[in-house]
């Protein structure tokens, strides 16, 4: 069974390709897939009628105890045969329905095949979660098929309406299924129906499950999505919205009825909605003039009929319901396919415009008549057998309560009268010659239906005809399922054409005569319907609900989103104060004793930091404020040193320096002072919030130490670093080995940040390296006559204007650059055992680049680092990630490190942890980040200035990245 589902999946994936190769003939090949499934299902008929079942369990997510449990019993077999058989026929039909030059056939074919597979999975699933997954898959594919290419507004609306309603029901059903399986203690449907448990959870769960079934099967008041879904091509209407998907609700009710029919509320909901739906659907169907819509409402009506029967919870009605389900699927899909043929041939579906088609398409007329006859319940069709069985069952029992049985029976008979009337109206409308109308144009039918086009409806209609006399054979299958339900009538009636002169026969005659009368008096009845028409409809209710939801969303958005960032931040901070702050005040154990400081120096540095922080607030000059922040940063580095964290201090020093450079690069473009002063009231509020946050955070900092109750996780880390990581610098080993995953994630953040900077500055293309010195920059700076000294300290510094050059800086750079680079490499390689590492090394190398740029300008940067920053970033990430992947390939854990040792001739004893490669990746990324920043905020802004290029897009320019 799993193989069959896999086959559908593969066919669906391959379908677009097949359509490209073979055109519409590909549908014939695709039809083989459900066809094969149909064949397989039939071969299991013997096993199942003998009372056996076929089960299969595939492992899915063992860790969550999830498995794909599939089970083929009598009920599943009935539906599986319908789904696959009708599916194969509809796909054959598609091969002629579409024109060779139609667009989107490939997509349609794929989705249609995928739908067939998920529908098969739905009826085979035994695990409720698997059932749910397939259930939603059918919803999604139905959405795709209704919406089509998405070009039509009506199609989109219909698709989203169907999706909203059925997924809402589906979600309710998921919760319901979980509640029911909790109540019964098993997730397998086969075990749930045996022992569903009891109690309020079961009742609530059952109602939620019914909500799913009711929306999926288009019961009142959710019926309106089904007629709207008629936007879809006719094969979709015939398959999804007549034979397969809308039957999913029927299937679910039939599947659960043996266990849940006696749950309080089940029968009122199922029987009430079922009968109401049958009547409303039939009534509305008689008002339709579009043949497809007539059939859509007829489907709604029949679904109500079916759910009433299978949900009643008695053996006799369930058997009738199953027979009727088969009859309905066969005849309704035939009728839809016939409309498709008419539509195809004439381009018209309005029964007020069609005339005389019966003579011009006699074969089609015969086929449609056969199907309609089965739907109406004329002997000897299967529909007659099913309807007869239903009437008999209700006459003698059917439901526990006699009064209910009578009401339901009356409702069903009345509904069947409508059925007969609209079927007659359908046949008359589609095929009759209407005296007042000319024959439907065009004279020569545009597409005369060929044999293959008619094959599918013909086969389905004949199946309905043959199944009637053969119903005693069908009884063998149906009864296996029906016997799982209690018998309420005095004796079980078997499916057969002739039961003798019984009350049910008289009821059948009543329905036929009533239908004929309604049809004969159609003009008067139509006027009556018009008079009784009510203004409100479920459809309008749906739109009003959506509209109210939209309005509510606007209201909420308008109230909460005021568009001011300070307001949002202030709100967040106030919440921080109220919630964690109040916990801090109320619940925190305060430390009993305090120390003034670790060392007196700490207090001194702390005072400097605080003064700098206050200055930052006061200063309105941009650069000075940045310098004040820099003082807090450097002070922090000192505090790190005093705390015993040399790596941190090193990194902080380097980053602080680099930050200053980047700030200067950007702020040189901005005015000197920060304008836009705030009102005093605003400043007061800000100050209050700021002081409170400061107090809370200081409290948190003080309380954190004394709140510790368990030993820190890091107690073992130094030992692990030495023994497992073979490194003496514990912090570095944590970064590149013990918590290397973490570092890998942080490296990705750096790459993203670098890309973001470049994207904001480079408008057109952000790849490539920095410009290097070329022919045209030989004497830059505007052609000044006085040339720079011939001896060059730096290779590109003469591209700068002389007034921007500094010989001292050039000389210093010349001497220092290589030394700094060597130092950075030293830090990188010694980092495993001494302070340093990839981060620090990379930052030092980056500072060397900064020096070259500051001394020699943007071309000097290109000479210093003639590589695209993207290459460094990508290469670094690849190296770091590759180290992890390599460990995996060699059989270890991801990012597990190894250690190589050797005695080398010159270097002596050398050791090489693989974590070093990871650290090199870190180094490259840090260098790449800084190079990217220098290239963007430095060189590119210089270029824009030099070339007077504002780098803004022209109004009509489209920038493609």
């Amino acid at each position: 069974m799993g193989l069959l589902l896999l086959l559908h999946l593969l066919a669906a994936v391959a379908a677009p390709l097949l359509v490209r190769w073979w055109g519409r003939q590909a549908f014939l090949a695709l039809a083989l897939v459900p066809g094969a499934a149909f064949g397989w299902v039939l071969t299991r008929l013997g096993t199942v009628t003998g009372g056996g079942e076929v089960t299969e369990t595939l492992s899915w997510i063992p860790a969550l105890d999830l498995q794909i449990a599939l089970r083929l019993d009598a009920l599943a077999l009935t539906f599986a045969a319908l789904v696959t058989g009708v599916g194969a026929m509809v796909l054959v039909y598609c091969a002629r329905y579409f024109e060779p030059d139609d667009e989107g056939i490939g997509r349609f074919a794929g989705v249609m095949t995928a739908f067939a597979g998920s529908m098969l999975g739905l009826v085979l699933a035994d695990d409720v979660l698997v059932l749910y997954v397939f259930w939603e898959l059918t919803t999604v594919f139905s959405f795709l098929l209704i919406g089509g290419s998405g070009a039509k507004l009506a199609g989109r609306r219909a698709a989203s309406q169907a999706l909203l309603l059925t997924t809402a029901g589906g979600l309710a059903m998921l919760v319901g299924l979980l509640m029911v399986s909790w109540s019964s203690g098993s997730r397998l449907l086969s075990e749930i129906v045996v022992d569903p448990g009891s109690g309020p959870v079961l009742v609530a769960g059952t109602m939620l499950v019914l909500a799913g079934a009711v929306t999926k099967s288009a019961m009142v008041p959710f019926h309106f999505w089904l007629p709207a879904a008629m936007e879809a091509p006719t094969p979709v209407s015939a398959y999804l919205h007549a034979a397969a998907m809308v039957k999913a609700g029927i299937y679910l009710v039939a599947r659960l009825a043996p266990g849940l029919a006696d749950v309080p509320g089940w029968r009122p909901v199922v029987l009430g909605l079922g009968v109401a739906t049958m009547l409303i659907g039939g009534w509305r169907s008689l008002r339709q003039n579009d043949l497809k819509l007539l059939l859509a409402f007829s489907t709604v009506s029949q679904l109500g009929f079916l759910i009433t029967m299978v949900g009643a919870g008695s053996e006799e009605l369930a058997a009738a319901g199953l027979a009727m389900t088969i009859a309905h699927a066969l005849s309704k899909s035939t009728l839809f396919l016939s409309v498709g043929v008419i539509d195809h041939a004439t381009g018209v579906r309005d029964l007020r415009l069609l005339s005389g088609l019966g003579r011009r398409m006699p074969a089609l007329a015969v086929i449609a008549t056969l199907a309609a006859a089965s739907l109406v319940g004329l002997p000897p069709f299967l529909g007659f057998v099913g309807k007869e069985a239903a009437f008999t069952a209700l006459w003698e029992g059917g439901v526990p309560d006699r009064l209910t049985a009578v009401v339901v029976l009356v409702g069903l008979v009345l509904g069947s009268v409508f059925t007969a009337a609209y079927c007659a109206r359908y046949l008359w409308g589609a095929f009759a010659r209407k005296p007042e109308l000319p024959d439907t144009a065009p004279e020569e039918l545009e597409h005369h239906p060929g044999p293959l086009f008619l094959a599918a409806p013909a086969v389905l209609a004949l199946a309905g005809l043959v199944a009637g006399p053969a119903s005693p054979l069908l009884d063998h299958l149906v009864v296996v399922y029906a016997e799982t339900l209690p018998l309420i009538a005095p004796e079980a009636e078997h499916l057969a054409l002739w039961h003798g002169l019984q009350p049910a026969l008289a009821l059948s005659a009543v329905t036929l005569l009533g239908g004929a009368a309604l049809f004969a008096l159609r003009a008067g009845f139509s006027r009556l319907q018009h008079r009784l028409a009510v203004g409100a409809s479920a459809d309008e209710g749906y739109w009003n609900t959506l509209q109210a939801l939209d309005r509510f969303a606007v209201l909420v958005t308008g109230t909460t989103q005021r568009g001011s960032l300070p307001t949002y931040l202030g709100t967040i901070l106030v919440v921080v104060l109220l919630v964690p702050g109040s916990v801090l005040l109320a619940r925190t154990p305060w430390p009993d004793e305090w120390r003034a400081w670790d060392t007196p120096l700490q207090a001194l540095v702390g005072a400097v930091v605080l003064v700098a922080a206050v200055l930052t607030i006061r200063i309105r000059q941009r650069l000075s404020a940045v310098l004040a922040v820099g003082v807090t940063g450097y002070g922090l580095a000192l505090l790190f040193v005093l705390h015993g964290a040399p790596d941190l201090a090193l990194t902080q020093f380097l980053v602080e320096t680099l930050s200053l450079v980047v700030f200067v690069l950007v702020l040189r473009k901005l005015p000197k002072d920060i304008g836009d002063r705030h009102r005093p009231a605003e400043r007061t509020v800000r100050a209050v919030i700021a002081v409170c946050v400061g107090l809370v955070m200081a409290g948190v900092g003080a309380a954190a130490l004394s709140a510790r109750t368990t030993p820190p996780v890091s107690e073992e880390i130094p030992r692990l670093a030495l023994e497992e990581g073979h490194g003496q610098n514990v912090v570095n080993v944590i970064l590149v080995d013990i918590r290397a995953w973490d570092t890998l994630g942080e490296l990705s953040v750096l790459v993203v940040a670098a890309t973001g900077v470049a994207s904001l500055v480079f408008l057109r293309s952000r790849t490539g390296a920095v410009d290097r010195v070329g022919e045209d920059q030989a004497a830059g700076g505007g052609g000044d006559a006085r040339r720079a000294p011939r001896r060059q300290w730096l290779s590109a510094s003469d591209t700068l204007a002389p007034q921007r050059r500094s010989v001292v800086l050039e000389v210093a750079t010349r001497f220092l650059f290589h030394t700094i680079v060597v130092l950075s490499l030293f830090l990188l390689f010694s980092g495993h055992n001494d302070p340093g590492g990839g981060f620090a090394g990379g930052l030092v190398a980056a500072l060397a680049l900064v020096l070259r740029y500051l001394a020699g300008g943007r071309y000097e940067l290109g000479e210093a680092a003639p590589v695209p920053p993207g290459l460094l970033l990508g290469g670094g990430l690849l190296l770091a990630g590759g180290t992890g992947a390599a460990a995996l390939v060699l059989g270890g854990q991801v990012l597990e490190s190894a250690y190589l040792e050797a005695d080398l001739p010159v270097l002596g004893h050398a050791s090489l942890p693989t974590a070093l490669f990871f650290d090199i990746g870190v180094y490259l990324i840090v260098v790449g980040l800084v190079l990217d920043i220098l290239r963007s905020l430095g060189a590119e802004l210089d270029r824009q200035d030099d070339e007077d290029d504002p780098a803004d897009a022209a109004p009509d320019e489209v920038i493609a990245r």
Partner: protein, 175 residues
């Protein structure tokens, strides 16, 4: 473990200054506030590791004498990431200046519009107001088609009620 007085005071001061700057409308000051908050948080993380001790490097200190290395590793990457994010924010300042010659955080116009609007969206249009071919089936009572059905029907069935629905031909626009 006993906390020091100095570190919480420094942490609180940095947080207060950072928050004050963060609530400013000038993007430059927001970035400065962001940096102060970053510094404060780094110090908070480090101070939570306990009292000062020797550097966690073997050969320099014994295991018992070392300061807690884990917060140090966390803070180290945080420093570098703060740098990357700062550079990104600065690029935003630069771009904002380049485009509109100011670096002030404006009130979001889109939010303002939502806050003031009456609430009519393209999608909650009443289906009755749509042209017939866009009306969802099951809704309208008319039937558009490539052949001009409505006019022909109006002539032929004057006075006869109809309750039909606007379904366009699914076969596309052929007649």
């Amino acid at each position: 473990m006993t906390p020091t007085i100095v570190l919480p005071v420094v942490i609180g001061g940095l947080y207060a200054a950072g928050v004050y700057l963060l609530l400013d409308r000038s993007l430059t000051r927001v970035i400065l506030g962001f940096l102060l908050l970053g510094n404060a948080t780094n110090l908070l993380l480090l101070s939570s590791s306990g009292p000062a001790a020797l550097a966690p490097v073997f050969g320099y200190a014994e295991e018992e004498q070392m300061s807690d290395p884990l917060p140090q590793a966390l803070v180290l990457t945080a420093i570098v990431i703060t740098f990357g994010v700062t550079a990104f924010l600065l690029a935003m300042v630069q771009r904002s200046w380049q485009l509109v010659r100011q670096e002030v955080i404006e009130v979001d116009e889109e939010d303002r519009r939502v806050a003031t609007r009456e609430g009519m969206d393209a999608d909650d249009m009443d289906p009755d107001d749509l042209p017939t071919e866009d009306r969802p089936a099951g809704k309208g009572n008319t039937l558009p088609s490539d052949v001009d059905v409505e006019e022909r029907l109006a002539q032929r069935y004057a006075g006869v009620p109809s309750d039909d629905i606007g379904l366009p031909p699914t076969r596309g626009g052929q007649s």
